[in-house]
C-alpha cells in the first residue's frame, strides 16, 4: 500500500552515493561510493566525527555534497526541484538521534504528522494507521496517544520517533544513532524492534550507529568509516574475520 504517496519504478539501488566528498573546516567525507539495494540493511559505523550523520543528511538532501552525486530511488537529490525532492522524501523515514519529536504536539499528532502532510488518509483511516504503528513499536496507543514528548522516557521517545518515521510506510528508513543514550536493556529492545520492522515492513535501512555489536547482528552489510573513507565495507561475517588492522582494532575496542 502506498498511501497515495508518489511512487517510482523499481530501481537497482535504493540509495547510491557516487564519489561523494564533503568538507566543512576539514574534509569529512572523501570520495565515498556506496550502493544500498532495496530491502537491504546497511550499517555505517565509526568513531565520532567521521561523517556518519553527514552521510544521512546527504541522503535526505539536507546537505549538498561538494563533489559527487547522491541518488535516492534513482533520483539525484541535488538535481531535482523542491517538489520532486518532497516526493522523494515522502518515501524516506528518518529516525533522529534525539528523536526530534515536536514538543508542542502529542504522541498521536507526532506520529500522524507525516500522514497529514501527505494528505491521503481520511481521519478514521489515519487514526487506525497511527494506532497500528504505535502498537508495532510496542507502545500502548491508548496510553501514550495524548502524552506530550516531555512526559515520555528516553526509550519511549525513541520508539515514538521510529513510529513517526515508519507510519507513512516509507520504502527507506534512515536511523541516526538509534540506541545512543539508552540503557543496555532499552538499547537491545530498540535494536530488536528495528530488526522486526525490517522483517515485517521489508524496508531498506541505513543505520548510523556506534553500537558495532548490535549492527553486526542486524545488518546485511557493515561500512566502517575512518577519516572520511570506508576502512571496511562488507558482510558482518567478513568483518568479524577481517585482517584489516583498523577494522580489527575497532572490533576489539567494542
Amino acid at each position: 500500500m502506498t498511501l497515495g504517496i508518489p511512487t517510482v519504478a523499481p530501481v537497482a539501488s535504493a540509495v547510491a552515493l557516487e564519489q561523494v566528498s564533503v568538507a566543512f573546516q576539514r574534509p569529512v567525507l572523501r570520495a565515498i561510493t556506496l550502493q544500498v539495494a532495496p530491502a537491504e540493511t546497511v550499517a555505517i559505523v565509526g568513531e565520532s566525527g567521521t561523517g556518519k550523520s553527514t552521510l544521512l543528511r546527504l541522503i535526505l538532501g539536507l546537505q549538498r555534497p561538494d563533489h559527487g552525486t547522491v541518488r535516492v530511488m534513482g533520483s539525484d537529490v541535488n538535481a531535482i526541484d523542491r517538489h520532486a525532492l518532497r516526493a522523494i522524501r515522502a518515501q524516506v523515514g528518518m529516525v533522529f538521534q534525539g528523536a526530534a519529536l515536536f514538543d508542542s504536539l502529542t504522541t498521536f499528532e507526532n506520529v500522524a504528522f507525516g500522514l497529514r502532510e501527505a494528505g491521503v488518509l481520511r481521519e478514521d483511516a489515519l487514526r487506525a494507521r497511527v494506532f497500528e504503528t504505535l502498537a508495532l513499536v510496542d507502545l500502548d496507543p491508548e496510553q501514550v496517544s495524548h502524552t506530550l514528548p516531555a512526559q515520555l522516557s528516553g526509550g519511549m521517545r525513541k520508539r515514538v520517533g521510529i513510529a513517526r518515521a515508519v507510519a507513512p510506510r516509507p520504502a527507506l528508513v534512515l536511523y541516526d544513532e538509534p540506541t545512543a543514550g539508552l540503557d543496555p536493556l532499552t538499547s537491545a529492545t530498540v535494536t530488536d524492534l528495528m530488526q522486526r520492522l525490517q522483517r515485517e515492513l521489508q524496508v531498506t535501512s541505513v543505520v548510523v550507529s556506534h553500537d558495532i555489536r548490535a549492527m553486526l547482528r542486524i545488518a546485511d552489510r557493515v561500512a566502517l568509516l575512518r577519516d572520511g573513507a570506508f576502512a571496511f565495507l562488507g558482510a558482518p561475517e567478513a568483518m568479524r574475520v577481517s585482517d584489516e588492522p583498523y577494522t580489527r582494532a575497532f572490533l576489539a575496542a567494542a
Binding site: R57, R89, F96, A100, L101, D103, R116, E117, G119, R164
Partner: protein, 271 residues
C-alpha cells in the same frame, strides 16, 4: 585611556556580515511570499499564531498604552499650563499616541514578548533537529512555521496599536480630569479636534489613523521575520538559542525605530 579605534579589517568584516544578513533576511522574505497562502492546515496554524501573538499580547500592550497616555498627559500639562492651555492636552496626547507612540510602543513590546518567544521556539527546534524532522516529513519550515507567524504579526500588531491608542487616550483622560481639571468631555473634544485637524485620506479615513495602522503593519512583518530569521539560524545548543533570542529582540527593536523614521517621512508626504 582612549578606546582603540576598530581596525579597517574589523569594519570591513562587520559591513560584510551586515550585508550577508540583509541578503538572508530578504531571501527568507521571498521564501515566505513564495509559500503563501500556506497549503493544508494554514488556517489552523494562523489562528493559533493570532492567539499567541495577538490575543496574548493584549494585556502588556494595554498596560503600556495606559501608562504612556497618563505620563503624556502629565508632561503635556507641564508644558501647556504656563500658557493656560491645559485644555489642549487631549490634542497633544491624540497626535502623539495615534501617530507615534501607539504603533512604536506596540511594535517594541510585541518584539520583546513575541519576538523573543518565536526566536527561542524556532531556535530550540533547530538545535534539537525538529526543523530537519519537519523537512523529512514533507513540511517546509518556512510554510508551517514562518508564514503563519508573519501573517499573524502583520494582522495583530495594527490591532494592538489601536488598543494601545485607546488605552493611552483613556489613561490621559483619567489623569486630565483627576489632576489637571480638564473635564473628560473637553479632553475627548480636543482629541477629536486634533484628528479632524490632521485631515482625512480620501475624505473618509483619518490621516492619523492611516499612519497609526500602516506603521504597525510594517513593524509586525519586521519583528516576526527577524525573530524567525534568528531562530532558524540558531546553532550551538541552548547557548545558541539564547544568543538568537537576544539578537531577535535587539535587531527587531532597532529596525522598528529606524523604519519608523523613514515611514514617517514617507507618510508625511503621502498622507
Amino acid at each position: 585611556m582612549p578606546l582603540p579605534l576598530p581596525s579597517p579589517d574589523h569594519v570591513r568584516r562587520l559591513i560584510q556580515s551586515a550585508v550577508l544578513s540583509l541578503q538572508d533576511v530578504l531571501l527568507l522574505t521571498w521564501q515566505t511570499l513564495r509559500v503563501f497562502p500556506g497549503g493544508r492546515g494554514a488556517a489552523h496554524r494562523l489562528l493559533a499564531q493570532l492567539d499567541a501573538i495577538g490575543v496574548r499580547s493584549v494585556p502588556i500592550v494595554l498596560l503600556t498604552g495606559l501608562f504612556t497616555g497618563m505620563v503624556l498627559a502629565l508632561q503635556a500639562s507641564v508644558q501647556l499650563a504656563p500658557f493656560g492651555a491645559t485644555l489642549f492636552v487631549g490634542r497633544f496626547v491624540a497626535a502623539s499616541m495615534l501617530r507615534e507612540l501607539g504603533p512604536v510602543l506596540s511594535g517594541i513590546m510585541v518584539a520583546g514578548r513575541v519576538g523573543a518567544g518565536i526566536a527561542a521556539e524556532l531556535g530550540a527546534m533547530k538545535v534539537t533537529e525538529q526543523l530537519d524532522a519537519l523537512e523529512t516529513l514533507g513540511a517546509e519550515p518556512v510554510r508551517v512555521l514562518v508564514l503563519p507567524r508573519v501573517l499573524a504579526a502583520a494582522a495583530a500588531v495594527p490591532v494592538l496599536a489601536l488598543i494601545a491608542d485607546a488605552a493611552g487616550l483613556a489613561g490621559a483622560a483619567l489623569v486630565s480630569s483627576a489632576y489637571l481639571g480638564v473635564p473628560v468631555r473637553a479632553f475627548w473634544g480636543a482629541a477629536v479636534d486634533q484628528i479632524v485637524l490632521d485631515g482625512f485620506v480620501g475624505g473618509v479615513v483619518p490621516a492619523d489613523l492611516v499612519q497609526g495602522l500602516v506603521k504597525p503593519f510594517a513593524f509586525g512583518i519586521i519583528l516576526s521575520l527577524l525573530a524567525c530569521y534568528h531562530g532558524l539560524r540558531a546553532s550551538g545548543g541552548t547557548a545558541g538559542v539564547g544568543v538568537a533570542t537576544t539578537r531577535a529582540v535587539v535587531s527587531a527593536s532597532i529596525t522598528i525605530l529606524i523604519t519608523d523614521y523613514f515611514l514617517t517621512q514617507l507618510l508625511l508626504v503621502l498622507v
